[in-house]
Amino acid sequence: MASLDTAEPQAVFHDDAGSLAIELTGSWSAERAPRIEELIAEMGERIASVSRATLDLSAIIRLDTLGAYVLNRLKNQREAAGGSVELVSRRPEHAVLLAEVNIHDCSVPPTVHHFGIVSVLVNIGEAMVRFGRDMVGGAMFLGEVVVGSVSVMFGPRKFRGPPLVNQIELIAFNGAPIIMLISFLVGCIVAQQGIFQLQQFGASAFVVNLTGILILRELGVLLTSIMIAGRSGSAFTAEIGSMKMREEIDALRVMGLDPIEVLVVPRILALIISLPILTFISSMAGLAGAALVSWLYGGIGIDTFLARLQSVITWKHFAVGLIKAPFMAFVIGLIASIEGLAVQGSAESLGRQVTASVVKAIFMVILVDGLFAMFFASIEF
C-alpha cells in the first residue's frame, strides 16, 4: 500500500461549456501542503467563474484529512456563494473521509485583543492587587510557620528527626565545598585588591584589617546566604512545588498531617542550623584566601597576618556575621516554601516559581543585610 507518496498533487482542468471538470491526481496529503494550497487557490479562481464544477478524486493516490478538508472547504465556500461543486470519487474510503471532515466546523473563534491605555492600567492594577495579596499571604504563611514551629516545640512527638538530619546533610555537608571554594577565592581577590590600592599609601599592612572585618562582618554571611538561596532555596521550591502539582500536599492534608509541619518546618529549621555553620566555614575559608595572598603578593608572613588579625578583630566582628545567619536562613526558607506552595498545574509554573524564589530570596538577603548594617551602626556594635 502506498504511503508517504512523493507524487506531486496536480489538477487537470477540462472546460466544457459553462461547467468545469477538474481531475485531481497525485498525493493530496499534508506533506504536500504548500502545493495543495496553491492548487486550491487556483481552483477557487477557476471555479468562481463557472456555475457548475465537478472535481474527480478517483485518481488521487493518497488523500488524508488535510486534502479532504481543503477540498471540502472549497466546495462549501463556492456553494455558499451560490455555485455548485460536486466531489466525485470512485473510491469508497474517499467518501468516508470527506463525510468525516464535512461535519466539522473549523472556523477559528476570533481571539479578543485589548490594546491601549486601558490594558496598561489593567496590568498596573492587577500587579498592585497581586503585590498586596503576596504581602498578606506572606504574613499569613509566616504565622502558620510560627504556629507549626511552636507546636513542634511543645509536642516533641511531632518533631521529625530524620528529615531534619537529612536536610542538614543536603544543605550544610554537601554545600560546604563549593561555599568554601567561592569564599576562598573572594578572600584572595579582596586581599589582592586591598594590597594593590593600599601600597600607594605605604599602608599595605592594613589589608589585614580590611579583609578581616569585611569577611567576618559581611562577606562570609552574604556569600553563604546567596549560595544557599540559589542551591537549597531553589531545591525547596522545586520539591514542594512538584509535590503540590501531583496532589501530594493534598494527600498529606487529608491524612491529617499539616504540610507546614511536615515539609516546611524541618526545612526552615535545617536552614537555621546550617547557615551559621556554613557562615563560619565560609569566613574561615575567606580569611585563609586573604592570608595566602597577603603572604604571596603582599609579603606579609602568615604569623604576622595572624598576630595583626588577633589585635584588630574583636569577638564583636565575629558575632555580627553569625547573628545575621539565622535570620537569612529564615528569610530564604520562608520565601522558598511560599513560592513552592504557589505552584500551579504546569511545568512552566514550576519553573517560574523556582526563578521567583531565588530572585526574591537573594533580594531579601541583601535587604536584610542592609537593615542589619543600619541597626548595628546605630547601636554601635
Binding site: A30, A33, P34, L87, S89, R90, V96, V108
Partner: protein, 284 residues
C-alpha cells in the same frame, strides 16, 4: 461506480474489519512484526522470546497483569527502550536498519497517546496539536489553525477547548486532546496506552466508539494497551495477552475465553468479566 460522497455516509471499507472475528476478505498484512524479543533492565528480564503481529486496519487490544511489561513493549516498538535481542519490523522494514531521516519518516507514521496524555503543559491544547504539524509540515498560518480545529472536532472536543491550558482540562478532555495530538500528522498506526483508564463508563464507551469511528474513517491501525474489559469486548478486533514474559495467546475474544492459561482464566473468568459477558449474551 461513481460515488457522490454527500449522499453516502455508511460506506463499507476497504480495510475495515466488520466483525471482531477478523473475517475480512483481504489477506491480513502485518504492519508490525515483533520476533523473539528480549528486553531486560539490568538483571531483571521483562520479556524474553516475545512474538507479536499487528495487522493492518485492526484494533489490537493488549492485556497483561500490572508490571508485566505492556508499556515496555509499546516503548520498545517506539524505540524509547533498548532491546537486548530480537527484531522489530514496521511496514516490512527492520527498525534497526533505519537511521536518521528514514527513522524520522517512520516515526511520522506513528501516533502515540501516552497514558497521562503527556500534553506539553506550557502550551495550549491547540498549540499542542500544532507542535508536530509545525515541525514536519509547511502549512500557512490559517490552515494550521484550521487543521488543529479539525483534529479537535474529530476527537469530539468543543472549539472553546482550543485555547485552554492542559491543566484546565478534565481527565476525559486530556485523553481526547492527547488523541488529537497523536492524530495530528494522519498517522497510520496509533498507539494508545490505557486510553480509557480514569474515565467514567459513559466517557470510556464514548472513547471506544471514537476510536472505532476514527479507525474506519482514517483507516488507522490501533495498538491499544488496556485493562478495560468493555473496550476489549466492544472495540478490539483481536486481543493479545502478555504473561510469563511473552505473548501467551492472541486472537479474537473467543480464543481468550477458550484458553487454559491460568492468568487468562482468572482475567476473563473473573466476576466482572463474566457479568459483562452475560450482559452481552442477553442483549444479543
Amino acid at each position: 461506480m461513481s460515488a457522490n460522497w454527500s449522499q453516502s455516509s455508511g460506506y463499507p471499507l476497504l480495510h475495515g474489519v466488520a466483525e471482531p472475528s477478523g473475517s475480512n476478505q483481504d489477506a491480513p498484512e502485518p504492519v508490525i512484526k515483533v520476533r523473539n524479543l528480549k528486553v531486560a533492565f539490568g538483571d531483571k528480564v521483562i520479556m524474553d522470546g516475545l512474538d507479536l503481529d499487528v495487522m493492518r486496519g485492526e484494533i489490537l487490544g493488549f492485556v497483561g497483569g500490572s508490571g508485566t511489561g505492556k508499556s515496555v513493549l509499546t516503548r520498545t516498538i517506539l524505540g524509547l527502550v533498548r532491546k537486548q535481542r530480537g527484531t522489530i519490523e514496521v511496514f516490512g522494514e527492520n527498525v534497526d536498519d533505519l537511521e536518521g531521516a528514514a527513522r524520522r519518516t517512520l516515526e511520522r507514521r506513528f501516533g502515540v497517546m501516552f497514558q497521562h496524555g503527556a500534553l506539553f503543559s506550557a502550551l495550549s491544547v491547540k498549540q499542542n496539536i500544532q507542535v508536530p504539524m509545525r515541525e514536519y509540515l509547511k502549512l500557512s498560518p490559517a490552515l494550521l489553525d484550521e487543521m488543529a480545529m479539525l483534529k479537535l472536532e474529530m476527537v469530539g472536543l468543543r472549539p472553546d477547548a482550543a485555547d485552554k491550558a492542559p491543566s484546565e482540562l478534565s481527565g476525559g478532555m486530556i485523553k481526547r486532546a492527547a488523541l488529537a495530538r497523536a492524530l495530528a500528522l494522519d498517522p497510520e498506526i496509533v498507539f494508545l496506552d490505557e486510553p480509557t483508564s480514569g474515565l467514567d463508563p459513559i466517557g470510556a464507551a464514548e472513547f471506544d466508539q471514537l476510536i472505532m469511528t476514527l479507525k474506519e474513517t482514517l483507516g488507522l491501525t490501533v495498538f491499544m494497551v488496556t485493562h478495560d474489559l468493555d473496550s476489549l469486548y466492544s472495540a478490539c478486533d483481536r486481543i493479545a495477552a502478555l504473561a510469563d514474559k511473552r505473548v501467551i495467546a492472541v486472537g479474537p475474544l473467543a480464543t481468550m475465553l477458550a484458553s487454559d492459561h491460568p492468568w487468562l482464566k482468572a482475567y476473563f473468568g473473573g466476576e466482572r468479566a463474566q457479568a459483562r459477558l452475560t450482559a452481552d449474551l442477553r442483549r444479543s
